[in-house]
Each structure stands twice: as C-alpha cells, then as structure tokens.
Amino acid sequence: MNTLKTILSGLCLLCSLQLSAQEKPAPAELPYSNKIEVSDQALESLFQAPENISVELAPGFHIKGKIENKSDHGNSVISLLIKLNNAEGSMLSIARYRDPKGGIYYTGRLLKLHDPDGMMLIEKDKRYFFIETQQRFLVSE
C-alpha cells in the first residue's frame, strides 16, 4: 500500500500541475484534495484494450495489469475488472453504461480489500475524476 500511496501522491502532484495549466480548473466544490482528471477517451480505451492492459489514463496515471473479467449486464452495462501489476494487486473495477438515449457514462473504483484507502471514479459537470478516499466509504462491513 505504501507503494500505491507513493505512486498516487506522485500522480496527484503531476495532475495538479497539469490541471493548474488548464483553462478549465476542476470544479471547486469537489471536496477532495487528491483528484486526477481523466478523459472519456481514456476511459473508453480501457474497454478496447487487450487482456494484458497498459493504458495511461492521465499524465503519470498508468494502468498496467490484466483484465480478469469483462462482462455484459442487461445490454446496457459492460463491466471490467482489471488486476493491476503496478499497485500491489489492487483491482480496478469500472463499468460503462449506455442510457436509452445513447449517452455513455462511466463509474469505477480502485481498491485493495482491507487497505485503508482507495479511489473512486466520479463524474462532475460531464468531467471524470479519480478521487482518493478512505476505503471504508467504498466497502463496509
């Protein structure tokens, strides 16, 4: 987990530098200090990737691992489960939803069971962010 934290801290630093250079800042009301913006295209690339996946979701935010599962749910949802090589066995669970009007949405979470922290993919103003959060807000007993 320390390695994951180090990686995430580095990523967040890089991402904050990148965000500060952008014209549109991240929505101020997002109450998270550690957030990484990812594009729709980057998220979509996960669903097109081969089994052994290596995708840069954002500058410095590299997803490298193996797709453990890809499945359809009710014709409107495709979910992916990716076991990461570069984050001590953490799992990235991500789903793509297609609404009846053809709109595409993504949800996801990156975690390792019993670790204190994880990440959640959230959408705000049609932009996507991975935010760092305590895992007890993702998984609870």
């Binding site: 453990e68 599962n69 890809k70 499945s71 749910h73 009710g74 409107s76 949802v77 979910s79 489960l81 076991k83 066995g89 799992m91 669970s93 789903a95 939803y97 949800t107 979470r109 975690l111 390792k112 069971l113 019993h114 007890r136 807000f137 993702l138 998984v139 609870s140 007993e141």
Partner: protein, 314 residues
C-alpha cells in the same frame, strides 16, 4: 426383519433426497416494484467483482430450512415495507429487474475469504449495474436467523448508499462508528445501520460515520437519488415505528397533527424528493401543504429517541 430393513433404507433415501433437493421457497415481498433485492440462500460462484482479488469465490448454500428462510425473508421485508422495493428469493425475479436497481445478497456460512465479520458490501452497489453482490456470513452469527436478517438488512442498507450510524461526543469526536443506541440506554431501539442485533432496530436520522456535522436520514436516502426507489404507492397508512405523531385531520392543503414531542419533520413525494421540512412541537401542529403536489406523500418525523413515517394523500 428383512422387509423392515428395506422400508427403513427406503425412508432414509427419501429423507436424504428431500434434504439434498430441498428448494428455497420463492418469496416476494412486493411484486409490483421493479427495484429488487435478491436474497440468495442457494450458494453461488462469484467472478469478476471487487471481491475476487484471490480469484473465484465458491459460496456454499446456506443450508437453512425452508421455515428459517421464510422467517428471515419476512424480517427483512418488514424493514423495507415503506419502500417501493421487492425483497425476493427468486433468481428469475432478480434477472428481470433493472440492472441499475438490483442487488444480490449472498447468504452463506463461511466468509473466511474476507474475514471474520457478519457481512460485507460495497457502498452504493445497488445502482452499479455490474451485479457486484453483497455478503452475509452466517458462521459469524451462530446461524441465528434473527441476526442473519439484521445483518442482511444492514448490508442492503450499505448497497443503497447508507453509511454506518455513528455516535459522537459533544465536540464531534467519534465515540463509536457503530451506534448501538447507546445514547438512550432506556430505549430498546438501535439503528439498523449501527449494531442492529441486540435491540429493536430501525432506520434512523443520525450522524453517519462520514462526519458528526452530517445528517443521514436512512429512509430518505433509500428512497431518493441515486436509487430512485421511492415509496409504495398504496394509499394505506403505514407507520414505520411508534405512534409519536398522529394525523388528526387532513384537508386539501392542510394537515393537522398531534405530536407527542418536539420533532423535526420532512415531507417527501412518492419518488423520495424532499418537498417540505420543519419542526413539530408537542401537541397540535398544522402543516400547510397547498404548495406541494397532490398525490401520495410520505411524512417523516424524528426526534432524539424516536422516528417514524406515514403515508398521506394530499
């Protein structure tokens, strides 16, 4: 003797056959609802979810008798009787439910792949759409049906987005993440999202584990976004708990209430949208409802030691 032996052997085979092939009774608490909670007592193979860090999970069947399943289903259904939500034991009902409004609760003896806990679930997974299940581990509760039902309701609550109801001191420092109703030792009530095993447990308005400054209304969160379950559309009056607030008179645009204490109240439409809120004082109260839509509404009230809800038709 030989004849009797054959009969005995045939009887033993019949008993074994009945036991092995005993099927879980197919039960539904509220069939009109599309939103579905599937109680899976039959064992499961789980792949491709956040639970599968160590690969495939083979969950054994619960081994509970049909009578126990019926009882557990009834207890859980009672906790959700206010909502437009079907608690089912029928896998076909789950398969037909909208993918963004369904959850499977696997009730199985052994949770050693995760840890010695009564259950585990992913917060908000009811709407994820990817069939991530939640878990109840019976061995941790001595296979007591009362505890199994309480644990299942607790886990369903998590999948519907609820956090634990916690206890904080006057300075906002958390005393315990799981409230057991300690703030009222004279009461026999506890929050379903706290420790629901040893007291009469119910949904509460309280401070969640995410912070003392926040307020979590369990029922409002279950009914509202992003679950969009809403409340049952039957016009009958249903009290969730207690009779602390009694509706004395109802006219178009006005609601007259008799309250047994000083409570806060909130009025929701059937979809779970908050329409009005305010305070009730002990005794007579009047709420003007002329500004809200007509139709079936839900009035919720809560105080320090009591909370309840009632459907009304405006």
């Amino acid at each position: 003797m030989k004849k009797y032996s054959i009969h005995i052997i045939v009887c033993i085979f019949m008993l074994i056959h009945l036991n092995v092939f005993a099927q879980t009774p197919l039960l539904n608490s509220y069939s009109p609802a599309a939103a579905t909670v599937y109680l899976d007592f039959d064992g499961a193979e789980v792949n491709g979810t956040i639970w599968n860090e160590q690969g495939r999970i083979l969950a054994a069947p619960s081994g509970l008798s049909a009578a126990s399943v019926i009882w557990i289903h009834k207890l859980i259904s009672d906790h959700f009787k206010l909502f437009n939500l079907n608690i089912t034991t029928d896998p076909a009902v789950y398969e037909r439910a909208p993918v963004h409004q369904r959850i499977r609760i696997i009730i199985t003896p052994d949770g050693s792949w995760y840890g010695q806990v009564s259950g585990v679930s992913a917060i908000g997974s009811f709407v994820w759409g990817d069939d991530t299940p939640a878990w109840v581990f019976m061995n941790a509760m001595g296979n007591n049906p009362l505890y199994i039902a309480a644990a299942a309701t607790h886990q369903i609550g998590h999948t519907l987005g609820l956090q634990h109801q916690s206890l904080y001191d006057a300075y906002g420092v958390m005393i315990t993440e799981l409230s057991g109703g300690e703030n009222n030792i004279l009461s026999s009530e506890a929050p379903l999202m706290g420790i629901p095993f040893y007291k009469q447990a119910d949904w509460k308005d309280g401070h969640p584990s995410t912070g003392a400054q926040k307020l979590q209304s369990d029922t409002a969160m279950i009914a509202g976004a992003p679950n969009y379950i809403g409340y049952r559309k039957t016009g009958e009056e249903t009290a969730l708990s207690g009779n602390a607030v009694k509706i004395e008179k109802q006219e178009p645009g006005s609601l007259e209430l008799n309250s047994s204490g000083n409570y806060s109240y909130r009025l929701f439409d059937i979809s779970g949208r908050l329409l009005m809120q305010g305070n009730l004082k002990t005794g007579f109260n009047e709420i003007r409802t002329s500004t809200v839509n007509t139709g079936v509404l839900v009035l919720q009230w809560s105080g320090e030691y009591v909370s309840g809800a009632q459907k009304i038709i405006n």
